[in-house]
């Protein structure tokens, strides 16, 4: 493997690789990043660690993204959880898709969409209510629009997507929004740019 910069060994490495489809080099990179974020070397991340990322602070939905890592009232994120959540953004592992490719692909896509859905659906009731959509819009559009406009847009969005007329967008309706299915899968860590990547991934499994 490439040079090991990480201070500690990656726990459950093989298991993580199997589960998430990241390669060893990727895991190494992520582990390193984990340790950079983990300033006090606690071995896990807290919300404050995430908030130090400057770009995340100016991201309109930065808070939500951070929240996505801390599911179910947990206070900290350990490396496994960190990797598992980031795995949502990993494209389908080519090794996996050999068997039952279509099904795998569909499942994987659905999983990713569900992740995104949960970012909207903060109270986890399985539906994006008007209020939740309004919050998202408010976050994204900021102060430049009036409240009435926000209301109108929300109104309209719900109108369009809500097929069963329950005044909220369920996951199935969410899936049907055109163009969403085309966006997945993503692969942020694989669009290799930095030289650091090249160093670490010199021997790729």
């Amino acid at each position: 493997m490439g040079s090991s910069f990480s201070r500690n060994k990656i726990p459950n490495q093989a298991e993580l690789m199997q589960e998430t489809g990241f390669s060893a080099a990727h895991l190494l990179r992520l582990h390193e990043r984990f340790e950079i974020l983990d300033k006090d070397s606690k071995g896990h991340l807290s919300p404050e660690d995430f908030e130090t990322i400057r770009e995340l602070a100016i991201n309109p939905i930065g808070g939500r993204i951070i929240g996505a890592f801390f599911s179910a009232g947990q206070e900290t994120v350990d490396f496994s959880t960190f990797v598992r959540i980031l795995a949502h953004f990993h494209p389908m592992d080519p090794n996996r898709t050999k068997n039952g490719a279509q099904q795998e692909a569909a499942n994987s896509r659905t999983k990713k969409l569900r992740f995104v859905f949960q970012l909207y659906d903060m109270d986890r009731d399985g539906k994006i209510s008007r209020e939740e959509l309004l919050q998202v819009l408010r976050a994204m559009l900021g102060l430049t629009v009036t409240e009435e406009q926000l209301q109108s847009i929300t109104e309209r969005a719900i109108q369009e997507a809500d097929l069963d007329r329950d005044d909220a967008i369920s996951f199935d309706e969410f899936k049907k929004v055109r163009g969403l299915m085309a966006v997945v899968p993503w692969r942020p860590e694989s669009r290799l740019g930095g030289s650091q990547w090249k160093k670490l991934t010199s021997i790729r499994r």
Binding site: I61, L137, L141, S152, I153, E160, L163, V177, G179
Partner: protein, 788 residues
């Protein structure tokens, strides 16, 4: 009515009229006739732009010509107009025969027409048939098509697939050129026969020929692909490739042409060629971008001279093209860059009428250009000199196909390693099959110098054969093949507000994730660019309030305005039946801004129920008044545009509110209120006719009746049939695919636009006729913001 009275007094009037005409005719012919008299008197009598032939008749008295025939001095414009007329009539004709246009792509038909016309010209024995002159082609016929493509280029898919497109364009074209050129040379060399003329061809000439023939042609691709409606990805791949390979073609062409004359080429030259390629492509883009920014900046100040707004767009773009051509940079890339760069800013600044004008003009010009190109190609085939050589031509055709297939397959193999959405075999087939050659290849061949290339005629013959083969065979069969292979077709429904919201959300999300990973990827840079754009560029280039408007809001406003206009068309405002014909006139003609509008505007933001009655009264009275106004306008009253826009917008809003009142249900008092001061340009920026299809609602409801304002409403059933037939009539044929002004209202508008309007649909059938017109197909419009 004035017309009636004319008829009554017709006879003496007519006589007078006739006499008047005759006198005028004679008056204009008089200077012509006076040509025969001595110079001095003719000079005095003459109008300056009469090119009278100087005749040295010294006072020979001829009979005074009552009617004279002088063809020469109008010959050139006359012929040009005749050709354009012919082209347009042909286009018209094809769409009257729907079955034909379904089987045969238009380009084929046009070439056939060209062949016929060419044959006719030959039979008549005219010495000087109109040639597809390279100058004419590159300077006049090609730019409109490219500008049309560039201006309406869907930026987001283009940028997302830019890597793939560049690979195909650059590497693919180079591969094609060398493969074809090299193998042709080999074939020519091994010609067994007695000193075949083919032996004359040296390697460089073959490579030059290869580079000419290898480029995929945007005109042909556009012409064929537009009719088959394949999915966006494939369309943008092939089309993008055809646009971007211009730079490669230019460089290769010039390179080989230079050195074919000399006879040899060194490594240094090859190296310089590579550098030249970078200069040509990047330089072209830079030139285009500069002109684009200039145009955007200019458009910021045009709020008082709306009439000439489209002119700026056209002229700046054309200048970009010419400037690039001046430096031997890639004019096509300059044009595309110019159009793509200026579009988001210009659209934010100009009035919606200007936008419509631009769109229609571009479509019109590009359509006429395309028609002319194909017809002239046919003429050139018949009339040009040919040198047919079986080996050369057939080998060329075969090699083109083979090279294309190998190139696409090989490149896809490499590209798929980097792509997330991989290209399937079907995709590869379509991409390979869609590599059509067209008039650019012909023109480039035409440009060849006869002395340096004695076999130029053979080249031209081969080029024409390849063009015919690709356009006819591939063009005709691609549609059934697409159906056969069940290639994904273009999705009809366009972006909904949901999609817009979610796309933006995802962008933010992915940027955030990238930041967490510490990885500066695609999204990171896109986000940075967006921020830069919002912070600095938009402030410079967009006038007034619009610069602060977030893209989502702009999008939303567009949708709302479109809705509103649709409702008016479909029958909003049953309460003002008598006023509606005037509404039409008002939308087309600029009335002076009526004073009562002001209090209405001010009332708008608050809009308590009590005031609505007042507003309605005011509107009614105003509309009554305007009907009696003269339906005429001149250039100067058009300046009143901003007010006009606002007024009609207000009208629509009022009508919506009126309908809302009628509804007996829980009223969400969420009105679409524009931000900012009443004279905010936001209202007047409705992109009505521009992209009616772009923003209608989800596909599932697309086949649902058009004026579907409320699914449950019993009224809407009627409106369905009325508009539907209108729409269907329009949807025949490419050009007639009207999304011009008859728009499909989305099926689930917000509550406050519920259908009382549906009732009025019947009355408004006439309205539709007035407002709708077969326009260019709107599915070319991706009215995406520049940096979504």
């Amino acid at each position: 009515m004035p017309s009636r009275t004319v008829l009554h007094r017709s006879l003496p009037e007519r006589g007078l009229l006739l006499l008047l005409v005759l006198v005028l005719l004679e008056g204009s012919l008089l200077p012509l006739g006076a040509a025969s008299s001595p110079d001095t008197s003719s000079r005095q009598a003459d109008v300056d732009n009469h090119k009278v032939p100087e005749e040295n008749h010294n006072f020979t008295k001829k009979a005074f010509p009552v009617l004279d025939f002088s063809y020469d001095h109008i010959q050139v414009p006359f012929e040009i107009s005749l050709w354009v007329l012919l082209a347009s009539l042909m286009k018209l004709g094809f769409h009257l025969i729907p079955r034909l246009s379904n089987i045969v792509p238009e380009s084929c038909l046009l070439i056939v027409v060209g062949l016929l016309v060419g044959g006719l010209i030959k039979v008549v024995g005219e010495q000087d048939p109109p040639k597809l002159d390279s100058k004419l082609f590159f300077l006049v016929l090609l730019p409109p098509i490219i500008l049309d493509a560039g201006y309406f280029l869907p930026i987001r898919p283009f940028m997302e697939n830019l890597g793939t497109i560049l690979m195909f364009a650059v590497v693919g074209t180079i591969w094609n050129a060398f493969f074809i050129g090299g193998l042709l040379y080999a074939v020519c060399q091994i010609q067994p026969s007695n000193p075949s003329i083919l032996h004359q061809l040296d390697l460089l000439s073959c490579l030059l020929f290869g580079s000419i023939i290898s480029a995929v042609d945007p005109v042909a691709v556009l012409a064929v692909f537009e009719e088959i409606h394949i999915n966006e990805l494939l369309h943008i791949l092939v089309f993008g490739e055809s646009l971007l390979n211009d730079a490669v073609t230019v460089v290769l062409y010039h390179l080989f042409e230079e050195f074919a004359a000399v006879g040899s080429m060194t490594v240094l030259d090859a190296f310089l060629g590579v550098i030249s390629f970078l200069v040509v492509s990047l330089g072209g883009v830079l030139v285009g971008a500069i002109y684009g920014i200039l145009a955007a900046f200019t458009s910021r100040f045009t709020s008082h001279t709306r009439v000439i707004e489209p002119l700026f767009v056209f002229v700046y773009s054309y200048m970009a093209y010419l400037s690039a051509e001046m430096f031997h940079l890639s004019g096509i890339m300059a044009l595309i860059a110019c159009g793509a760069v200026m579009r988001p800013y210009v659209e934010a600044n100009i009035s919606h009428k200007s936008h419509t004008t631009i769109k229609y003009f571009l479509k019109m010009w590009s359509s006429v250009s395309e028609t002319l190109i194909f017809i002239l190609l046919g003429v050139a085939t018949v009339d040009g000199k040919h040198l047919w050589n079986w080996t050369f031509v057939s080998v060329t055709v075969i090699l083109c196909l083979v090279a294309r297939v190998i190139g696409v397959v090989g490149l896809t193999f490499i590209i798929n390693k980097f792509r997330i959405v991989k290209l399937t075999t079907k995709d590869q087939f379509i991409i390979a099959y869609g590599g059509l050659r067209g008039a650019i290849a012909f023109s480039l061949g035409f440009l060849l110098n006869k002395e340096h290339f004695p076999l130029r005629d053979m080249f031209l013959t081969a080029i024409i054969t390849v063009i015919f083969f690709t356009v006819f065979v591939q063009g005709m069969t691609i549609k059934p093949l697409v159906d056969l292979l069940a290639v994904k077709k273009k999705q009809e429904a366009k972006r909904s507000i949901n999609e817009e919201i979610h796309t933006q959300f995802l962008d933010h999300l992915l940027t955030g994730i990238e930041d967490i990973c510490g990885h500066y990827g695609h999204h990171h840079w896109k986000d940075k660019l967006n921020r830069f754009n919002k912070k600095y560029v938009k402030k410079c280039l967009i006038a007034g309030e619009r610069s602060k408007e977030p893209q989502l809001i702009a999008f939303y406003h567009k949708m709302e305005m479109k809705h509103a206009i649709e409702l008016v068309e479909s029958g909003g405002g049953s309460k003002l039946p008598s006023a509606l014909p005037s509404t039409v006139s008002m939308q087309n003609i600029q009335p002076k801004k009526p004073p009562p509008a002001k209090p209405v505007e001010r009332v708008l933001p608050q809009l308590p129920k009590a005031k609505e009655e007042e507003i309605r009264k005011i509107l009614r009275s105003n509309l009554q008044r305007t009907r009696q106004r003269l339906r005429s306008y001149n250039r100067h009253t058009l300046v009143a545009d901003p007010f006009e826009d606002r007024f009609s917008d207000l009208l629509l809003k009022k009508q919506r509110m009126i309908e809302m009142e009628k509804r007996i249900k829980e009223m969400n008092n969420y009105l679409t209120v524009p931000t900012g001061p009443p004279d905010s340009p936001t209202l007047s920026r409705a992109r009505l006719a521009s992209d009616p299809q772009s923003y209608s609602v989800k596909p599932t409801l697309a086949n649902v009746p058009t004026i579907q304002v409320d699914l449950a409403s019993p009224d809407s059933a009627d409106s369905v049939t009325l508009l539907d037939e209108n729409r269907q009539a329009d949807q025949r044929g490419r050009e007639a695919e009207d999304q011009g002004l008859t728009m499909k209202p989305p099926s689930g508008p917000s509550k406050h636009k519920r259908a009382g309007e549906a009732d009025e649909a019947k009355e408004q059938q006439k309205l539709l006729r007035c407002l709708s017109d077969p326009g260019p197909s709107a599915d070319e419009d991706e009215d995406d913001a520049f940096l979504p």
